[in-house]
Symmetry: C2
Subunit: 373 residues, 2 copies
């Protein structure tokens, strides 16, 4: 197979779930895959070696944050993102479009590009789609995302329609500007919760043709059922021979539902962010380890889990660490939460391989963990 | 050899440095040894497994902090300190005497014991030496320290003399109250920078007889040369067949000088505390990784070091992590700083074994790292 070509290995008998594989310059990716987020070239509190050990295949970083600090030129000078952060696996950079629209207090948006202020020092910057490609080429990830316009939720339909058309135009310009053959460029589908705008977005992107397709604009506050309702028709029209990446979604139930619709790739800051607040995913649903009810609970965090945290440390110890604000609490819960999602997608893949993902999903829907959307 | 008996393996030809070994219920300890500090049953930001991997033999925890949170009863219920924190190696608890005197805003001290307020919730507690022994028996470390009175620096000579006598009385009561045969109880030498008071303290403790001797009351702000001057006569009168533990001292140069005087054991929060502030020990002296001069320095942290941090990550990356306040910065610098001190004591031991510690120390004194007292 050529670099980035998608090999379809198995499909479920009753859902649209699929198990695929594609290759990159830094190894193969088996899907469905959960990709830990290392916004500033570090997954918070976790060593790259620990991520390898738990089977992480792809790490994310963010072009917006790395552009501001330490600068894309510094990362390039270090030999690229992989060398800079000591990660031998596959790396993906998001363009930073989402961050510009969600973090910047002031921005000027035209068809030409976007002018925004740095959250670090207030300095003004301008990015055209071409500028963004140059930056992501400097960073050197294996998979890069187009610059897009990501509208908030809720948003006027007209604004969403404009974002769809502008993002499609920028997608075309990104493809024309992008030159590194060792990088896969993904287009990004927008359209909010409007199925017709989503379909229009897909059509426009497919006219250009991309190595893969991100589906953006979700996980911005919309109800989960609205996400799934408008996601289903998107999956139906996306080309079957390209990876589909649902951006920013990584809660256990949302991920499993989306896999059933045919999504291949996920990322989310949830596992590490909630860990820092003392929250753990578990086979019994979320647990808040700051809770006093765990003070004398000497059993493992999740008896069903085989991770380093669950095999070595008790709930009482983790509660003690959170209660005394010790760094190790956030570290151990991050290791567990990441392992939990990686393991969940591995089990999903295994169910797809045996054609019984529908049963796996049914079982999840009736489990204590289902509420963890 | 019986549990805790000290085996003298080698001595230096020109200094009083010595290489020894003693055994505990959780394995042997080879000295000189640096012991990482895990005050609240966690070395900040570092997993027990990472500490094993870098060759840590003994971890410290603190009876004062663990008594307040989570409670010595909770640790006992978990199966003791080792099980609670998932550490298979040797554990040592400090009595918490130092913390009571340095942290408490209000305390009432009598010959009977000390009444103090919790730094957590302001509640009043009373500890007699006997209470303290019961608490440290509940925690279950392999080596425990007597309850002592630790005067500040500078202090009136009379106050220091009183502390020497009270600590010696408490030492006797601790020994009488202590019952666990799988634990070694160490007395603590006080006396500030007064050589005669230090000698008196040693004599009083030796009349009782302990498994080992802590030397307390240093690293409280006194000049380094005053510490070394008053430490030398202490080492001369301490029994040669018992381990000598210089409490709270762990800067590279102070440790190497003290090894030359015949000290066997060290602990210090310095490696992890300075790491969180961005400071690294190195063969070139301390480096402040927050400094902009490292922004484009793509070389290793310390070219002379073989630790995980130095072999995998650049100064520019570490500077980026500190600059963006990423947890991984503190973690990677903690791993390096701990490895640095563990490796330094291993190299010291190796020099003692070949009888040339004097040369090792001379070389250090003329190195760029010497200023790191």
């Amino acid at each position: 197979m050529a670099l980035f070509d998608l090999e379809l290995l198995s499909t479920d008998r009753r859902t649209s779930a699929r198990a695929c594989r594609f290759s990159t310059a830094h190894g193969e990716v088996d899907t469905p895959v959960f990709m830990p987020v290392g916004t500033r070239a570090t997954v918070k509190g976790v060593l790259p070696q620990q991520l390898s050990a738990m089977g992480a295949q792809v790490l994310l970083a963010n072009a917006y944050h790395l552009f501001l600090r330490p600068g894309a030129d510094v990362v390039a000078e270090a030999g690229g993102l992989h060398r800079f952060m000591n990660w031998d696996g596959v790396a993906l950079t998001d363009s930073g479009g989402f961050q510009i629209f969600s973090l910047a207090d002031t921005l000027k948006l035209t068809d030409e590009g976007v002018r925004f202020r740095s959250i670090v020092d207030g300095a003004w910057h301008f990015w055209s789609p071409e500028d963004n490609m140059r930056i992501q080429e400097q960073l050197g990830a294996d998979i890069i995302m187009q610059l897009d316009q990501c509208p908030p939720y809720p948003a006027e339909r007209d604004l969403v329609a404009t974002a769809v058309r502008r993002s499609a135009d920028w997608a075309k310009r990104c493809k024309a500007a992008h030159g590194r053959e060792d990088q896969a460029l993904f287009g990004i589908v927008q359209g909010g919760v409007h199925a017709d705008l989503r379909r229009e977005s897909v059509e426009r992107l497919c006219e250009v043709g991309f190595a893969g397709y991100g589906i953006g604009g979700y996980s911005v506050g919309e109800p989960h059922d609205l996400m799934l309702e408008s996601l289903a028709p998107v999956c139906e029209v996306l080309p079957a021979d390209r990876p589909r990446y649902l951006m920013g979604v990584g809660s256990p139930t949302a991920m499993l539902e989306a896999i059933g619709l045919g999504i291949d790739m996920f990322d989310c800051v949830l596992p590490t962010r909630t860990a820092r607040l003392g929250t753990a995913f578990s086979s019994e649903g979320r647990l808040n380890l700051r809770n006093a009810r765990f003070a004398r609970d000497h059993g493992p965090l999740d008896p069903a889990c085989g991770c380093e945290t669950c095999t070595g440390f008790s709930r009482a110890y983790l509660r003690h660490l959170m209660n005394t604000k010790e760094m190790l609490g956030a570290i151990l819960l991050s290791l567990h939460n990441l392992h939990f999602l990686l393991d969940l997608t591995r089990r999903a893949r295994s169910a797809i391989e045996s054609g019984t993902y529908w049963a796996f999903l049914d079982e999840w829907r009736s489990s204590a963990a289902f509420d963890d959307y």
